[in-house]
Amino acid sequence: MVEERAGPAWSLDYIFHGPERGDWVHVRIQQAIDDRTVPSVSDIVHAADWHERETEDLFGLLFDGHPRLGEFVLHEDWPEGTNPMRKSFDARQRLEPRTDAHWEPPTVVEAPGVFAMPVGPVFSDFAEAAHFLLETVGEDVITAIPRFFYKYRGVEKIAEGQAPRDALLLAERFSGTAAFAHGLAFCQAVETIAGVEPPPRARMLRSLLAELERLRHHAAAIKGLCKSTALAVATSQAALIEEDLLRLSGVAVGHRYLFGALEPGGLALDIADASCRELAEEGQAILARLAELERMLEYTSSFLDRLEEVGIIGRRDAEDYGLVGPMARASGVPWDMRKTAPYAAYGALDLDAPTEAEGDGYARLRVLFREARASAAMIRQAADSLPAGPVSTPVAPRPGAALGVTEAPLGAAFHWLRIDARGLVERYRLTSPSFINWHGFHLATENFAFQDFPIILASLGLSNAECDR
């Protein structure tokens, strides 16, 4: 996390969080603004690798000792010396792309018979914009090099100077399939700065809606996995479940992706107790259908063959890369922000954060099913124990900085926010689970068969919108 502070000086905040005991370590270093070289820590903490590459692009800082700085967020056609997160950079300007720039996928492997397969940024029928270069000499993928940030919209920069409730629109919409979790992390940062706690009813409803989003997200992820293995009926059944959950969300708050339900200080709307109980009933009915689908998949050998012992990520690797969410839990890392840093009403709910040991595609599928089950149970528990009272409390703007943390459907989401004296956003930085997990994506794809690539991709289920921001 990097900021430019009055002085003028660089302020670099390193926030480390360990999965084991949920410890936080916050290190802040400061140095003169014209000193642009910082020692790299990625040789000690491998998870810092992409953060440093990103910071080099967005701020123009150089990390001494980092082996691979250079084009990352900003592709080759950005004008030389552009560092959009610098305060001196105007977010409203239109940049003319360089026309002399040329890019070719970099190849690494040199061997007789090797060939490189570029995929993207426009590929498959419904796929987000991203590019992958797969190198192979036949069956197995030797290297898988991703190229992201085709979808870089500069969300963090655009948010600067906006009132928090307007910046919330960006927090919800940069990754629409996890809108509630990200909006919630943002609201929590605003509330921490203002020293305000939302009323108990709002906190319980927030947990309920967050679990509804997770349930829907996981149903969609299961659908994606069925689709990647060309299991048509299972895909259709999972798709029906997903659509039913979208409609359920639409009935609950008016929006199928839960946009507009949150506001700093609580929720923008109340949901009646009876409606919540109905929603929980529906959730249970949908869960029963999901459980039947799971049972049928468990006995479909052609499906399991494509998942078992494919796309394995070991526990050691998962820890070194600091992986989060279902992807980490499938490799045996029991890391869940709802547990290690309870927010909303999670302290009062029975939380089951399942882990699996194998780290393969099947383990990831089982984690999705088990988490869906846990989400439906929490929805019911929340609906049955809703406290009475208001759903919002006023938030008076106050200058300061805070970190908002939630467990998004794909894993831990960190929203760092600084509010200035006018009550507007001065600095907004976010680290998303997809950004963290894409870093480790090559672990799952390398040394596995070429034709398994789409299935492995589906079993990871990561989002580029969430990664690229």
Binding site: H75, D77, W78, P84, F89, D90, A91, R94, L95, P97, P121, V122, F123, D125, F126, E128, A129, Y150, K151, Y152, R153, G154, K157, I158, D166, L169, L170, R173, F174, S175, G176, T177, A179, A220, L231, V233, A234, S236, Q237, A239, L240, E243, L246, R247, L248, S249, G250, V251, G254, H255, R256, Y257, F259, G260, A268, L269, M296, Y299, S463, A465
Partner: protein, 261 residues
């Protein structure tokens, strides 16, 4: 494999009757603000001030809505009476762009029941893509209409685009469009693809795909529900008329709020 066949058959027919009849399932559409008659100017001004994307414009009789700017923040619905907007629960939102009024820019009848669609992500948040991908689920099942999603632009008649058009996707978008054979049409979905939404125009993205492509049909919404996207495709092949011009309606905001609850 037999068990899957049986499972599929036992699920029965789930497909909507739209476009032959209107779909009324709750939650199938988020609805959207509609032009509202208001008696006093202050309510209209207040509604305009509530809107973060300047989608609400005061008129003589109340307020009109610039649908392509609306991002579904619901502030105009959840305000205090009488400054509350009328809320429509429909989904036939697709409109023709000026370029499409030209008869030469229309797809012929031959495409009406065999239309191949290439989806393109120009920096979308994932919600538009999720809604577009629902078109293949059994509820919407676009195959029954002769519509098909194709992975290659070489086979595509329609380019279905979502997202504000980030700088990095400008070239891939133009190349994809060029790779499509004539006649070809562009359907832009979502507030981002129409106006840049909450993201653009900015240093990193354009204010919609219209800056670089000739857009024929626009589908507003954030995101537009599957039925609205389906309406857009039907409009593109002239099987459905586009949404009527936005006019100030008869219902007041309060009545609408009652009907919404």
């Amino acid at each position: 494999m037999t068990k899957w066949v049986v499972k599929g058959l036992r699920a029965g027919i789930k497909s909507t009757r739209y476009p032959d009849a209107m779909e009324g399932a709750p939650g199938a559409s988020p609805g959207r603000p509609a032009p509202t008659r208001l008696d006093d100017e202050r309510s209209a001004a207040r509604l305009r001030d509530l809107c973060p994307t300047a989608a609400i414009a005061p008129t003589e009789a109340g307020v009109s809505i610039l649908h392509e700017r609306c991002v579904h923040c619901f502030r105009c619905l959840r305000g205090d009476a009488p400054a509350v907007v009328r809320w429509e629960r429909d989904y036939e939102w697709a409109a023709l762009e000026r370029t499409a009024e030209d008869a030469r820019r229309r797809l012929g009848r031959a495409f009406g029941r065999s239309l191949h669609i290439r989806f393109l992500d120009a920096g979308a948040c994932g919600a538009c893509m999720s809604e577009a991908s629902q078109l293949n689920n059994p509820y919407y099942n676009i195959h029954r209409l002769g519509f098909f999603i194709t992975p290659t632009p070489r086979d595509a008649d329609i380019l279905l685009v979502a997202g504000p058009l980030t700088d990095a996707m400008r070239l891939p978008l133009c190349k994809t469009f060029e790779a499509m054979p004539e006649p070809k049409r562009v359907v832009a979905i979502g507030a981002c693809a129409l106006t840049g939404g909450v993201f653009g125009p900015s240093f990193a993205s354009a204010g919609g795909v219209g800056e670089f492509l000739p857009v024929d049909v626009v589908v507003p919404g954030c995101p537009p529900p599957p039925l609205a996207i389906l309406h857009g495709l039907l409009v593109a092949v002239e099987r459905k008329p586009p949404a009527p011009e936005a006019r100030a309606g008869a219902m007041t905001g309060n009545q609408a709020k009652e009907s919404f609850r």
